[in-house]
Amino acid sequence: MSKIAVIGGGIAGSSAAVELAKAGNEVFIIEKSSELGGNVKHYGCKAVEVCTKCNLCLVDDVINEVFNNENIKIYYKTLVNDFYGEPGNYTLGIENEGNFSSLDNLDYIVLATGYTKWSKLETGTPEIYNDEHIIWASELEDYLENRLDHVESEDPIKLGYKPESAIFIQCNGSRSIQEKAKYCSKICCGYDYRLARVLKHYYPEIDITMFFMDFQEAGYLQSITFDKLDEEGIDYINCKPMRIDKLNNGLKMTYEDQRTGKTDEKNTQLLILSEGIHASDINETWSKLFNLQLNEYGFLTPIEDEKDTGVFLAGTIKGPKDIAMTISDSKNVAYRIIKQQALNQSKI
């Protein structure tokens, strides 16, 4: 049995903690907020007539397992501000609302502090983005927590109006040098496709268009393909719009249609901006405190072998992943620690 600190109580931290605790370890989850669940804690269900496989159900299961496991202790509203010691005997300095203390004799550390949404970093936002017709994809995800599927309602997803049209902009905050994210965030195609289906579910007549650069497989879903978009009656245009203008009751998008090479316009009542996965600022602190490599986009990788240092990285702290991949990655991290414990045991 070991003492293990898991920093971050999102999907990654919770999944790793559950596996480690099941193996009989004493696990401490250190969470900066007052809830477990991280970025997706208030996202809603995206089922239509059938489940669209967003994997949120798994998140609730994992969090409930954390609550039901006696080997896990959770520190809410707690920050980590110091780390010292040697493998097998580390100390973490922690701070809970101004009170400082330490967690001693730790055998392993799992860092699982996740990512930051592009919407939180976006600084070049034009004023028009405050328009009620423009929302971030994660805002729509949050609205869906209160969706009404079994109760008659004029406004089942709390938009405040009935949209006749919607436009999604893909690759926003991804695949752009200006946005310091040359990479693909891997998840936006998936959630935009699901959100589009939810809109179609409530407003069958709605006219939906997606502006895209490339379509990704989007995780463990059987793949988003053009055929699937056709099936749903979703139109797709291969470019990023050049201009967005405010109208009386909506917005006007100006774009270059690459099919014809001409500039074209499209009006919409609802514009949904996808948000790429960006590295969290805290990664810089972690890189110094735990001696980790910060890559060009700010994600972390180990410098020395995790098995030797006892400091492991789980989930999107390493780069973009969807929910299912974050869970399996974090379980893998836990399994690696358990394997290492067995090895150390046999040496003694």
Binding site: L58, D214, R259, K339
Partner: protein, 454 residues
Amino acid sequence: MYDLVFIGDSIESPNMNTLSIKPELLVKSRGEIGNFNISYKNTVEDSQLNKIKTSNIIINLDTEKEKLIEDTLSFEEDLISKKDDLAKNEYILFVQDYLKTSPAIMSKFGLEKAITLNKELEKSQIYYFYRSMRFIDENDRLFEEARRNGIIFLKYEPEGLIISDDNKLTYKREDIELEFNNQIIMAPGIKANNYINRVARIFNLEMGPDGFLQPENVYLTPTYTGKRGIYVLGGSRGITASSNFEEELEFTLNEIAISLENIEPVVSDERVVDDQKCILCYTCYRVCPHGAVERDEELNSMKINQLACQGCNACISNCPANAISIVNEEEKEIKQGLHVLMRENSAQTSFDKLNQDKFSDLNVETIPCSSSIRKKELYTYLQEPENRLLILGCYEESCKHINGDKRGEQIVDEVKRTLEKLNMNKDRIAFKRISPRMAEDLDQYLSNWKEGLS
């Protein structure tokens, strides 16, 4: 006793005692996690059976690749050996996403091949036609390198790329129109392995709509099947499964390593078949989503494998002979009033988020699955005229027990029809689907339902 048997190609698995069996030679599988009994032949013609035991099984079958157009080459072929022939072409044409969007692994193969070929062939210009580039692994870097090396990438719309019967390729976009009569190298069409039906039948596994093993279900990601101890990897699972092969393999081998140390039953209460009552109709075998039911030759009765059982009770509710029961199950007393049966994990999770005081007048019960409900029991709930019953199950395709939601809904529909025939109010019983993230919806619906509104 093997730790692990591969059906299809074997993969290096350190510290495990493994065997690989070709799918066409597989004959029979019985047993459960920790103790599968497998029979197989040495050759297809052979009548002699080999019998072995294994703890776990990985089905690792490659997909079938088909040429979409005659006389073209494939991304997957050894193109370097054909470089002298290819060098005769002024243009070499790579095409992906033809007819259907190609998976990311094909973007990877295509980019790699185009880059290698570009280095070998000094005089040929490579064009690469695609609808969407898919980024896994190093594809970002490969895409950039390919463009830097002078490969020309052209995106197309379905109507913008036409390949004629004599393999002439026409490309149209904006004001560009290009025509080529050169060697075409294409991403192949991909289908499920030819033996996948055989493997599904032998292991009693479900097939997905695309002809691959195990329909998509969030509870089965990444490589689980409905049956404990049997995993599907790579091309067995779908055309895009190869994209995350390394992570999925590590996950699967870790799961297996842990199960080899210790396997616990999923449910604590045993489900047992009374061999005196069993009529061997195989209903339980057919309805069990976890492949946990088998025939016990000695007792001449069906039996339930305890380690495979995941406690959904579909066998109990569907058994026409009433032969299956839960050991030590307490007789429940059904009170008068309003009853809500909630599926654990889904509706129950949402309900737990609500202010319970508001619903203290409801008789709430947790059920492991909608397929647990028995028709006879439902009538008991409805016996008193003022009683009403609400069953809250999962959304379709999100049931941990695969099809439990559909079975539950069918039973409720049957009860409704019966009530209608008897001139009774069929709305006294209802089935609704609630996910774990629909607390607000459940709150409002339950409040209405309580008052008799819906």
